[in-house]
Amino acid sequence: MTVIVNGERRELPSGATVAHVVALLSGDGDARGVAVAVEGEVVPRTTWSSTPLSEGARVEVVAAIQGG
């Protein structure tokens, strides 16, 4: 299935979860300071692995940077 991750189309196996997407982006990092929104709704870290994505879902994965 295709999902939109941070504005880019990505092919993921059907049934892929938010946790898959985070692992895809953060590699072996511990994803500290990372947060995720699907369709503009925040997905709590505790439910990343139990939140499946649907075809065409828009996923934003953000992390801390310098600013402000």
Binding site: G27, V36, V42, A63, A64, I65, Q66, G67, G68
Partner: protein, 263 residues
């Protein structure tokens, strides 16, 4: 001078809040952070960069400062609210520096969207510290909405133009029942001192330090100027007068008469 600053029940010994934007490296940030004495630092959220090496959180954790996430770059209340919720999730803090920008050249706040976002976030239990204009009425509205502090600008973000309307800042300070943090516009140490002399409770400073030729030295200069300004405020300045007022008494002045003869 050991009086503390209290925001939302949390005490701070330092009255300088460090913005982390603009530092060339995490090392320079760490150096500036240490000498600044700041106990709270802003951070921003952006799309995760898979190639980024090292997190700013490593620097901030090592120093033990409180993280103050911001909503920089948001132009609508909706975007700011979602960003704040993401920040709560990412940093496990309810504190948020609320920025809702209305124009990308001036980066001035959008008053209407800002107030709407503030109301929503207060409802959701956030400790909201809004970046606002120097408008005393808007500051009052934000306070009435339940914001934990108000953070009026001295001049536009990164402009280094200092405090353009000291009278408005003084009015905001006079009437606020929450801490007033001067945010944006500080260009150098004297600007921070003026903010404190006007009665601001703290100063938030990013570019003035991070983009200085020597950020670590400027961090020290601004730390000292914040302390100096606060001390001067408590000491009580003399009033401004149009004419001189002699500091040496007239009484007892000797009189020498006319010169005996012209040379």
């Amino acid at each position: 001078m050991d009086e503390t600053l209290t925001i939302a029940g949390r005490e701070f010994r330092s009255r300088l809040v460090l913005g982390t934007g603009g530092f060339k490296s995490h090392d320079v940030l760490a150096g500036a952070l240490e000498v600044s004495g700041a106990e709270m630092c802003t951070v921003a959220l952006r799309r995760l960069d898979p190639d980024a090496r090292g997190s700013i959180l490593d620097v901030l954790d090592a120093s033990g400062v409180q993280v103050l996430p911001n909503t920089a770059g948001c132009f609508t209340a909706r975007d700011a609210v979602v960003t704040a919720r993401l920040a709560r999730e990412a940093f496990a803090t309810d504190w948020i520096k609320l920025e809702v920008i209305g124009d990308d050249r001036t980066l001035l706040p959008d008053a209407v969207e800002l107030l709407a976002a503030a109301e929503q976030l207060v409802d959701e239990g956030f400790v909201v510290l809004p970046y606002t204009t120097d408008d005393p009425v808007l500051a009052r509205r934000l306070e009435d909405a339940g914001c934990a502090a108000v953070m009026p600008l001295g001049s536009p973000i990164g402009s280094g133009m200092g405090i353009r309307n000291a009278y408005n800042i003084a009015i905001i300070v006079d009437r606020a029942r929450v801490p007033v943090v001067l945010d944006a516009g500080v260009g150098t140490a004297s600007d921070a001192a003026i903010a404190m002399e006007l009665g601001c409770d703290a100063v938030l400073c990013a570019s003035a330090i991070s983009r200085a030729h020597d950020p670590v030295a400027m961090a020290e200069a601004i730390r000292l100027s914040v302390q100096a300004g606060r001390l001067a405020l408590r000491a009580g300045r003399i009033p401004r007068r149009r004419y001189a007022e002699a500091s040496t008494p007239e009484e007892g002045r000797p009189e020498f008469g006319q010169p005996a003869h012209a040379e």
